[in-house]
Amino acid sequence: MSSNEDQIMEKEETGNTKKPGYSAKDYKSPLKPIWCPGCGDFAVLNALQQSFAKLRLPRHKVAVISGIGCSSRIPGYLSTYGFNSLHGRAIPLAIGVKLANPDNTVVVAGGDGDLFSIGAGHMPHVARKNINLTVLAMDNRIYGLTKGQMSPTTPLDTYTSTTAYGSYDPPVNMVKYVLAYGAGFVARAFSGNLPLLTSLIMQGIEYKGFAFIQVLSPCVTYRGKAEYDSIRENSEVLPDTYDPTDHKSACEIGDIEDKQYLGLIYRNDNLIPYEDRIIEMRKHAQKGKVIPVGELINLYRT
């Protein structure tokens, strides 16, 4: 389908009782994934396609931006706009796409290494700026593409191709990291739980602001098939009674490392996305007025 057809569909949607939607397969590209059989990344691809379809997002309104890694191959398998960029640089590119055209739904997908090692320097800034993106950190706790080196989330004392004597770098805690920098939407999902993963991606896309989702997505080749079982054993879906709007509870959940809680960990709907702030700022600039940020925020709130 061309983006022209997407536009036709949009028109039909607004003017008609009949509501043509998309099915997940409309978001498939002609490329066949070359991930290893059993790789967790298949589920992320599947969940993304389902989320786009359920949210009825026209493909020309969606851009999926990645870095380099097995996980970062994902834009190639989608029929939306895509940019398979440089190792660690998905976030700056995604920011460019979003700010140039805030109408776009922008999703960042990348590996644990891509987003938390080489690209980690961008994370604090995109979180604190609150740019309206959805980041999927596809965490397999290893460097898949480059053949099994230690990653920033590899557990302590693991033998990998670069830790002949066991790893001694304590792993990064992604959830705590992004909470610390002010992310307004923080979740943890698992490739082995597709409905939850899809639901969290949909919530993340709909959230107006920076949405971060850690996806435990096993690398069966360099961490073994047992990774699925060990995640199942060591994880638990957050109970319905859990209140994700409470920052303190979210931090407590983040602190727990022997159990990986899955679900929406934190959500703050009182933050203003960056692009809304700059659009407002621009209106004033065009009128030749300078408006203090405090006042701007109040303007937005009213």
Partner: protein, 375 residues
């Protein structure tokens, strides 16, 4: 050990160990990662340190500082990582830091045809950082040479207090070949010249003649030292004085350029009466050797010059080889990056032909014969 079946990257790691390397930091990238894997085995055993950094900016940063603190340091990467090394390489040149940087080239730009071979970083290496000051780069053609030139690269780095580049490609780095490293003749090991104890002061960039290499004193050693990324005087203090700045630039340039005879490593195979010369380097010199052999077998007279030193350009060796030559053939796995250096030096009546490609496959002997008109 006798004959072994090993890849170029292992030979590089072992060459470094032989040179006394005791600090290695790197960030994984194919086709250089196996150096990191080997060093992970070798260095801790020898009592040294290996670090997998969070990215290339960090890995070269670790290396520069460790070298200044007295370690013998190696790092390895490939194209995208070299791009991230760029700024820190400037720092290493500025600080006159001895260390060895290995680039296992892969086809580019950017992620290129990850991870297939090419030698597209030849001019990039020469101009790798801002400022345009000269650097030294060596390029091996075989597994044995990978071992030998890594050892020599350490010697040159130590002797000239400068970052040293070892350039090869995926095709040598991760291809196994039979080699006997015991048979490789190595020069004596050279370690950096240190300022002896008991001196009044340590001037970290002291020279009398511009080409002098300053004595060094390690961080944590007998003398307090300071380094800066900014233009500085001999004491390492920041300066804005144009005369002092020019003097330092002249020093950093002369130190490398005046070393040319010492650092020129070439392999000459000249034929009496030849009017054709093949100039080659790296793995493609092996294709060239086969092509030359074939042409000679058919009665053609052809000379060969294989460059192991790429930067600074071994001008004298190239000019000597081109005496009486009417045709120079330059095969390369890029679009003619060294060709332009040869063109500058060729006699006016000589024709210079590049046999260039960068489609991830090796330049074959057949292509050299055909495009170079060797028959």
């Amino acid at each position: 050990m006798g004959y072994e079946f090993i890849e170029g990257n292992e030979a590089i790691a072992r060459g470094a160990m032989r040179a006394g390397c005791d600090f290695f930091a790197s960030y994984p990238i194919t086709p250089a990662s196996s150096i990191l894997h080997y060093m992970n085995d070798f260095v801790p055993e020898a009592g040294g340190l290996v670090i997998q950094a969070e990215d290339e900016i960090a890995s070269l940063g670790f290396c520069i500082a460790a070298a200044m603190a007295g370690r013998k340091v190696l790092t390895s990467t490939s194209g995208p990582g070299m791009s991230l090394y760029s700024e820190n390489i400037g720092l290493a040149i500025m600080g006159e830091t001895p260390l060895v940087i290995v680039n296992i080239q892969r086809q580019g730009p950017a992620t290129g045809s990850a991870t297939k071979g090419a030698e597209g970083d030849i001019q990039f290496t020469r101009w790798v950082t801002s400022g345009g000051l000269p650097i030294i780069a060596l390029s091996p053609a075989t597994v044995e040479e990978a071992y030998e030139l890594t050892f020599i690269a350490f010697n040159f780095a130590e002797k000239y207090r400068t970052p040293l580049f070892l350039l090869t490609s995926k095709d040598l780095g991760v291809t196994k070949d039979s080699a006997n490293l015991d048979l490789v003749k190595l020069p004596p090991r050279f370690d950096r010249k240190k300022l002896p104890p008991g001196q009044k002061e340590y001037l970290p960039h002291y020279f009398e003649k511009p080409e002098d290499v300053p004595l060094i004193s390690d961080f944590g050693g007998d003398y307090i030292a300071r380094y800066t990324t900014s233009m500085h005087d001999k004491a390492g203090y920041l300066t804005a004085n144009p005369a002092v700045i020019q003097e330092m630039i002249d020093h950093l340039t002369a130190k490398i350029e005046s070393a040319i005879d010492d650092i020129t490593l070439v392999k000459e195979d000249f034929q009496e009466g030849a009017d054709t010369l093949v100039v080659s380097y790296g793995v493609i010199s092996r294709s060239a050797a086969v092509a030359i052999e074939e042409a000679r077998a058919k009665g053609r007279k052809i000379s060969s010059l294989v460059l192991q030193t790429l930067w600074p350009v071994p001008e004298k060796a190239i000019r000597d080889a081109m005496k009486g030559i009417k045709k120079v053939v330059v095969p390369e796995m890029n679009m003619g990056q060294y060709l332009i250096e040869i063109e500058k030096l060729a006699p006016p009546d000589a024709k210079v032909i590049g046999v260039c490609k960068m489609n991830t496959t090796l330049v074959t002997p057949g292509e050299i014969i055909e495009k170079g008109g060797l028959l």
